[in-house]
């Protein structure tokens, strides 16, 4: 449960940025392992890549794209906040970052299925 002093949009944006970063960090080793198999064990890599034809895997990939997009746009939001001389509209920028992430991952899923 989110504690009362954390129940506001900027803290939730921080949490989303942190969780998406950790999830991507956990995913990356498997991603690199699969890439390495393309060279070392191409038949195994092909077999694993065929899994991506399944709908559930495509949806999971959509989730990964969302994590990547929300982390990327969240990072841009933080850089803007810290390096541009503005102070207002923080919630609007945060909402825009999440909206862009949904747009990118939604577009990916619609193209994939």
């Amino acid at each position: 449960m989110i504690r009362p002093h954390r129940s506001h949009p900027l803290w939730l944006a921080y949490f989303l940025h942190r969780v998406s970063g950790l999830a991507l960090a956990l995913f990356l080793p498997f991603h690199f392992l699969l890439l390495s198999m393309v060279i070392s064990q191409p038949q195994t890599a092909d077999a694993l890549l065929r899994f991506t034809d399944h709908l559930t895997v495509k949806l999971a990939e959509g989730g990964l794209v969302f994590l990547l997009a929300v982390h990327f746009f969240g990072g841009v939001r933080l850089l803007a906040l810290e390096f541009l001389p503005w102070s207002g509209k923080r919630k609007t920028i945060t909402a825009a970052a999440i909206a862009f992430a949904f747009f990118v991952s939604g577009s990916f899923v619609l193209r994939a299925v």
């Binding site: 506001h8 900027l10 390096f83 001389p85 102070s87």
Partner: protein, 245 residues
């Protein structure tokens, strides 16, 4: 004629140091009543051993800040109607500060960090010199004015999760003070201000959670001040690097 109201159930943190528990008091509801009024009623009518701190009762001194339903607030400026949930309120001492007793916290760590961040004004002129003219409409002066109304109530300090997780972190109020000094044209050694806030526990520890700005009862923007310090320390870092090349 005032309608008779049900009593409110008020849970108050009781204890010394790191040990204690919530104790529930039944307090009569009034039409106009602040959370500080409630705490005062408990001390005067129910349990005179209850310890808490207040002074002005009108949002000037900043000494009555407490956690109300888990959020840091000035109790003197918080109407009961705004925080009453299911006829209950939970009142605890400020987070991130050692508890002396019950609702009274030890503010020393908060003010020590304020000093560590270079919060003390170092005059650049003696009293024999003419008073320095300060134009109020410059962008720099306005940036300084934005943070100058801080009364050190420690609400932002209690709201900050970075303070909770990093014992050395200077905290929003101290960093906002440093940003005010950085923008004050009477402060000559700007680099000393930046050096004080760019080391271990300094402004770069901030995770931009924004709770400081969200809960500041004076509507100040410590998050913006910390962002300003991050910007200026980064510029200072690259300026120094280019000089060394």
């Amino acid at each position: 004629m005032t309608e008779a109201r049900a009593n409110m159930m008020i849970s108050v943190w009781r204890g010394m140091g790191s040990t204690g528990k919530f104790e529930t008091f039944e307090v009569p509801a009034q039409d106009n009543q602040t959370v500080l009024d409630v705490v005062t009623w408990i001390q005067q009518a129910a349990d005179p051993s209850l310890s808490y701190r207040y002074a002005c009762r009108v949002g000037m001194c900043g000494s009555c800040a407490m956690m109300v339903n888990g959020q840091p607030r000035w109790t003197c400026r918080t109407h009961v109607k705004r925080v009453l949930r299911d006829n209950q309120i939970e009142i605890a001492p400020l987070r991130n500060l050692p508890v002396i007793k019950d609702l009274a916290t030890d503010m020393d760590p908060f003010f020590d960090k304020w000093v560590k961040a270079g919060g003390v004004h170092r005059a650049s002129r003696s009293r024999d010199m003419p008073i320095q003219e300060v134009k109020p409409d410059t962008a720099q002066r306005q940036a300084a004015d934005n943070g100058i109304e801080c009364i050190n109530c420690a609400v932002c300090y209690a709201a900050c999760d970075t303070v909770s997780s990093n014992r050395d972190y200077l905290g929003p109020a101290a960093l906002q003070r440093a940003w005010t000094l950085f923008n004050d044209e009477k402060v000559v050694d700007k680099q000393a201000v930046l050096d004080a806030v760019s080391g271990s526990g300094g402004c770069h520890n901030c995770h931009t959670q924004g709770s400081c700005t969200k809960f500041c009862p004076n509507d100040l923007d410590p998050l913006g001040s910390i962002a300003g310090l991050k910007r200026e320390t980064a510029k200072s870092f690259f300026r120094r690097g280019s000089k060394q090349c």
